[in-house]
Amino acid sequence: MTIWVLWLVTVLLCIGAVLGPGGLRWRLSALTLALITIACLAPFLLPVYRVSQLTRMWSLAISLLGLNIISGYGGQVSLGQGAFMLMGAYTLAILTDGAEQLGMVDARPWPFWAVLPVAGGVAGAAGVVLGVVSLRWRGVFLALGTFAAALALPHVLLRYDNFSGGARGIRFPATPPPEFLKGLISQHEWLYFLGLLSFLVAFGLCWNLHRGSWGRALVATRESELAAKAMGVNVTRIRVEAFALSAGLGGVAGVLYAMPLRFVMHETIEPLESIYLFLALIAGGLGSLPAAIPAAALLIYLPTDMVQLVGRLPGLGVELVARAPGLIQGVLVVVILLLLPYGIIPALGQLATWRPAWALRSWRPLAVQWRGARVPLWKGRPMAPGETLRREATDDPNKEV
């Protein structure tokens, strides 16, 4: 129960920061500070199961940060993020399991602080390869090309089993906390804080990058490659760099994801997981960095707690939850997409400007508002967050724009 109180406080704090008094900068700093405090207190208030859930959430959030760089800011659809996470997880397993797969390199188990950058580097290198291969692909071709990588990797891991353990997978010992923390915090709290710290570092990195010239150049390539080129942006280079960064963050996330499991196999992260990551990012809000947190929370809570919650509704019953969780998940995803077409974080940003105008003016039949939801373009472009669709007073509300 405590977990829901914490989430409620978090959401209320966010809403308060959007609507509250004072300058924006002040409100955002206060919010960040409050959220970090909550995140640091959480493992001491929650049961082990909830803490390990949150640990997984931080690792997924790092992966989503990377995905947001390439897809949200770079505008390149990548459905291969799960493959990079799997690479990171296998790097951790191979380097720490004590058995020799790479001869001299991993004869002795590596410490975790050395594994993290190596895993990031391995996945980042794979990202460079994929980025170079996919340079000329656009749209669907890119989406399916990257998804092909996610589909192929588990098969390759199965085939080369002297390296990856094949279908048996690899077991590796737990990562104990460093000396100065021993006795202070328990194992699962240590993993939680490692995840949280890594997320904060990754977030800081992405925040600085996306505000600097590199991020602006990346967004420029998203808006128009030709214009970006004309302004002197090296489009090829920035695309490959974005791919590498996103893949590297995926690798780091994979390490943190696998650490509590103490076991990896080719099914640890399934190919469909890559698609779910993208789905969650859309629901969280593509192109806004904090979206990684609600998106990761969705990935964690949607298949477990939210499905069970919906299953408690009268008339649905336990059997539906046990046998067809995907049905409820699918419905929930569609509901989120219908209600918050721009995602959770942009919807939060809209709160400040939102006025229930239609509700005050008249009770227009629901069907009319429903029809309004299908207008895809306004003045030839997607509607921006906060923009409202104004119609002439005499205009027929059923007419399409």
């Binding site: 659809v77 291969v133 000329r136 692909w137 656009r138 749209g139 669907v140 071709f141 890119l142 989406a143 399916l144 090309g145 092909a148 990588a149 589909l151 192929a152 098969h155 390759v156 199965l158 085939r159 698609i275 779910y276 993208f278 789905l279 859309i282 629901a283 593509l286 539906l320 046998r323 067809a324 969780p325 995907g326 049905l327 409820i328 998940q329 699918g330 419905v331 995803v333 569609v334 997409l337 219908l338 077409p341 721009y342 995602g343 429903w370 939801a373 299908r374 207008v375 895809p376 373009l377 997607p382 509607m383």
Partner: protein, 321 residues
């Protein structure tokens, strides 16, 4: 010419490693190719469905395979309940079309397209929903279920090789459907209107075409095609809730290989994938193993796309998602 020589040299070099040597048993080789064409034509039907949907609303339909799976289960339950095979097939195909139309009209069209992929997210959600619904309703008792082939599974001697009656039936049904579709899109008014609505919605609206109706019709045809293809595939693989997922992957690959906007491309791509899958299954060298079938197919497609980023039959800028 140097390129051709290099390719021939490469092929002869790699052919040395092939497990059974094709030149020692030509009838096996030709039989495998014919098999590949037969199963590939079923993939081509799904690829055609994907192309139809892509052309009408510029999105990849991840739910395509699961609709086929679901309607196949419906057809199976009808057959088990005692309905004639033909009647239950037609009923299930009609259900597939209706399902696709209702899903497009009721869900996909309603989601505001903030990004090109928001609507794809809806199709992924539908993938989940239908997969789960099939598990919920039908996955009781033993799986895979036996799904009868309307043509029978007896072998037919064709001179150099033998094919099963089901494979011949798959081939002829797919061929008939493709011819019918090409006639529909080139010779009928509705087909022309659908193509116009897909190519230029604004102008077609001015010409008096109800664009939304045409798009819904495109989805319905995609749903019917996917169901028909699933009926042709289920007797081979057996009927279980995941049997269409690999088919969906192959169909995506075929559609992309063919250039995603081109129906003939989808047919060629689907058949190429079927042949490639079959040949790799038979001739994959021992040092590679059969696990590498899917990665090899995918890598080949990626290699083709590196050379031709818009697919074999595609046009530059044709694949905007």
């Amino acid at each position: 010419m140097a390129l051709v020589e290099a390719i021939v040299a490469l092929l002869t070099q790699t052919a040395v490693f092939l497990a059974p040597k094709p030149w020692e048993n030509w009838s096996l080789f030709s039989e495998q190719i014919a098999r590949g064409v037969a199963i590939g034509s079923a993939y081509a039907l799904v690829a055609l469905a994907i192309v139809l949907v892509f052309r009408s609303s510029e999105l990849l339909n991840f739910a395509q395979g699961e609709w086929g799976m679901f309607t196949t289960f419906v057809a199976w339950s009808l057959v088990v309940a005692g309905t004639a095979i033909g009647v239950s097939y037609v009923a299930a195909i009609a259900l597939g079309a209706a399902l696709a139309a209702v899903m497009f009209w009721g869900l996909v069209m309603r989601v505001r397209e903030t990004l090109p992929l928001t609507r794809v997210a809806v199709t992924i959600a539908m993938f989940l929903m239908f997969n789960s619904a099939a598990v919920w309703i039908y996955a009781r008792g033993q799986l895979p279920k036996y799904f009868p082939s309307p043509f029978g599974l007896q072998a037919v001697d064709l001179g150099p090789f033998t094919l099963s009656r089901h494979e011949l039936g798959t081939l002829s049904v797919s061929l008939a459907v493709m011819l019918l579709l090409s006639w529909f899109f080139t010779r009928t008014k509705v087909g022309l209107a659908m193509r116009a609505a897909a190519t230029n919605p604004e102008a077609s609206r001015l010409m008096g075409i109800n664009v939304n109706r045409m798009l819904t019709l495109g989805w319905a045809m995609g749903g019917a095609l996917g169901s028909a293809a699933a009926f042709l595939i289920a007797p081979v693989t057996g009927l279980f809730t995941a049997f269409m997922f690999p088919v969906l992957i192959y169909a995506f690959a075929g559609a992309v290989l063919g250039g995603i906007i081109s129906p003939p491309g989808a047919v060629v791509g689907g058949i190429l994938i079927g042949v490639g899958e079959n040949l790799l299954g038979t001739y994959s060298p021992s040092w590679l193993g059969s696990e590498m079938k899917l990665p090899l197919i995918l890598m080949t497609i990626m290699a083709v796309l590196v050379v031709r980023p818009m697919g074999i039959f595609g046009q530059p800028g044709g694949g905007r998602a």
